[in-house]
């Protein structure tokens, strides 16, 4: 019988000491940042009913989800996403809470990591959700917080990219097309697949939106793409989206935030997001380390509709790529004890060392009188015949 009892499942790994301490440093600084802005922590179970991820707006492709069956035959999943369960919690449990809710979380998500790609199946995320505010200044707050989060972890080595799904929607809405074609267009724009997009859009020759859609994947970079986009296509909905984006960009700039860029072709999860969408990148990480946006219709799947916006940070990716800011560990002190060492002496010494900011450890030996000093400690003490000696 083959036993898998010495390894962890594919896509998961053990994390030892330094890695945990580095992550701990990131978590502490992000937590302090979120709490300083009035965000309060929630946690949701690792297990959820499959149905939570099956509604129209909260749809999550089933191929990526780990599933189990409970004792009543109901399908459970290992949570593949943090925001959807929090939307469930807000819609069901917090529906009578008035006023804006500021929520943060620090928990893991699980996704099938297919065969030996090095992708992670267990991803630690930390993020915020701001529920109940739909003023432009609420978008500013969340994106500003995203910038500060990246800055606190990556220093100045980050880039935050903004989009508004309204521009893409305005373009495809103006075409006479079915949902399947619309989804095809969206996918090609998302992957910046110019050749296939040109081919697919041939049939819309003459539509004003056609030219803009063809150029859409290239509309990324500096703020000037907004003017380009406006010149390519203009109607009420498109203008509204571009205006909102310009206002947000200007507001963030006026707060002294740089490292900002735009990508009007950022159209992933178009059914989920309803307004501003953004992503954060840092050098060395091949995928975004931060992703977020406005999702005004998600909570309505689970209770009374409420506008909301938020973002999540992929802590694993960040820990691998960003320079550590882990706190310096305290000096280590060893207290050698043997079978005859009095408990009270040993523990009062440990307590004294702890109060002097040492990490104090009892080290069991055969005989404290002649045991060699253990390695790796800054100071070594031994209890000999009830008396404490150093060295």
């Amino acid at each position: 019988m083959k036993q898998y009892n010495k390894i962890t499942p594919e896509g998961t790994k053990d994390r030892l000491f330094g890695e945990c301490e580095k992550r701990g440093g990131f978590v502490r600084s992000l937590r302090a940042l979120f709490e300083s802005r009035g965000f309060r922590e929630v946690s949701t179970p690792v297990l959820e009913y499959y149905d939570v991820f099956g509604t129209a707006r909260a749809y999550f492709p089933q191929e990526g989800i780990y599933k189990l069956v409970d004792h009543d035959g109901r399908i459970l999943v290992l949570r593949p996403d943090c925001t959807i369960p929090i939307a469930r919690l807000i819609g069901a449990r917090l529906k009578n809470e008035r006023g804006p809710l500021r929520i943060f979380y620090h928990q893991k998500i699980y996704r099938h990591a297919s065969g030996h790609t090095g992708l992670s199946g267990e991803i630690a995320q930390m993020g915020v959700e701001f529920v109940g505010g739909d003023l432009p200044i609420c978008d500013v707050e969340i994106v500003e917080l995203a910038c500060r989060s990246l800055r606190s972890v990556c220093g100045s080595d980050y880039q935050l990219e903004l989009c508004h799904i309204g521009y893409f929607n305005a373009l495809v809405d103006s075409l006479d097309t079915d949902p399947a074609t619309r989804e095809q267009i969206r996918e090609l724009v998302e992957h910046k697949n110019f050749p296939a997009l040109d081919l697919l859009l041939e049939r819309f020759e003459g539509c004003p939106a056609q030219k803009a859609l063809k150029k859409l994947p290239a509309l990324f970079g500096s703020v000037s793409v907004l003017e380009e986009a406006r010149a390519l296509f203009s109607n009420e909905a498109a203008d509204r989206a571009l205006d909102a984006l310009a206002d947000l960009y200007n507001a963030l700039s006026s707060l002294g935030l740089d490292h900002l860029s735009l990508d009007l072709g950022l159209v992933n999860q178009a059914d989920y997001y309803t307004g501003i969408i953004f992503r954060g990148y840092t050098a060395g990480a091949g995928e975004p380390v931060l992703a977020g946006g406005r999702y005004d219709e998600l909570i309505g799947e689970f209770g009374p509709a409420r506008p909301a916006t938020g973002f999540g940070i992929n802590l694993d990716l960040l820990c691998e790529r960003a320079e550590g800011t882990a706190a310096v560990p305290p000096p280590r002190a060893a207290v050698l004890v043997d079978a005859k060492s009095p408990v009270t002496e040993a523990f009062s010494l440990v307590e004294r060392l702890c109060s002097q900011r040492f990490a104090a450890e009892l080290v069991p030996v055969g005989d404290t009188r002649d045991a060699p000093a253990p390695e790796g400690f800054d100071r070594v003490f031994r209890v000999v015949d009830g008396v404490v000696k150093e060295g």
Binding site: T117, D157, E161, H191, K192, P195, G221, Y281, G286
Partner: protein, 213 residues
């Protein structure tokens, strides 16, 4: 932080045409043509570090950001996923992915469940799923034509350039699954963090292609 842009280039079938295209785009390729056993070779001007890799590995390197750009066939892209930008059709390495069966057989008739051999199980599965057919797909690594010849399968899904191998083994094309050509793919974060450099490379390759290289 700013290491040289890395391009993963598929070894083998499309390598020669891809290097010619790079040359037409103004990148010195003497080193690439005489790479010997080296796996990473810079263009003569040092603009790009070219990494020679097997097709499926090109996808892996670009998805993870180990390389910024990749040159790889559409067949490999369809088979191995798509978390990257697919920014240009380089127009080289053109061929077809086809369903082929023994000459004179009628693959689509009858009620018996079919078996199909392929090096591309995902492309084959997607194709039959679109046709709403329940087909057993058997992954074969080498000469897929052996499947029907040995009586293991009823048909194959494979790449065809001239159709000569098919004919010599008594097979014929039943239907085209999709057209295939060589694509330029780009890592998502790289495009955003190094926009100007990557756009220049994409632009020069597109222009060289347009010039009929």
């Amino acid at each position: 932080m700013n290491r040289t842009i890395r391009m993963a280039l598929t070894k083998g079938r499309i390598e020669k045409d891809a290097v010619s295209l790079l040359e037409a785009a103004g990148y010195g390729c003497a080193g690439l043509r005489n790479k010997g056993r080296r796996l990473i070779v810079p263009t003569d001007g040092g603009e790009i570090d070219v990494v020679f890799a097997k097709a499926a590995d090109v996808i892996t390197y670009v998805e993870t950001g180990a390389c910024d750009i990749g040159i790889v066939g559409k067949d490999t892209i369809l088979e191995n996923g798509s978390s990257f930008y697919e920014m240009a059709d380089l127009g080289i390495g053109r061929c077809r992915m086809v369903l082929a069966a023994p000459q004179g057989s009628d693959f689509f008739s009858g009620y018996a469940a079919r078996r199909v051999a392929s090096k591309y199980p995902k492309i084959a599965a997607d194709y039959f799923s679109r046709k709403q057919m329940d087909v057993g797909i058997i992954k074969i690594e080498g000469s897929v034509e052996l499947g029907p010849v040995l009586g293991l399968t009823d048909a194959i899904v494979d790449l065809v350039e001239t159709g000569k191998t098919l004919a010599e083994n008594g097979l014929e094309v039943v239907e085209t699954v999709c057209e295939v050509s060589t694509r330029l793919i780009v890592n998502i974060a790289s495009l955003k963090l190094r926009k100007a450099e990557i756009e220049e490379i994409v632009g020069r390759l597109n222009a060289a292609k347009g010039a009929g290289a």
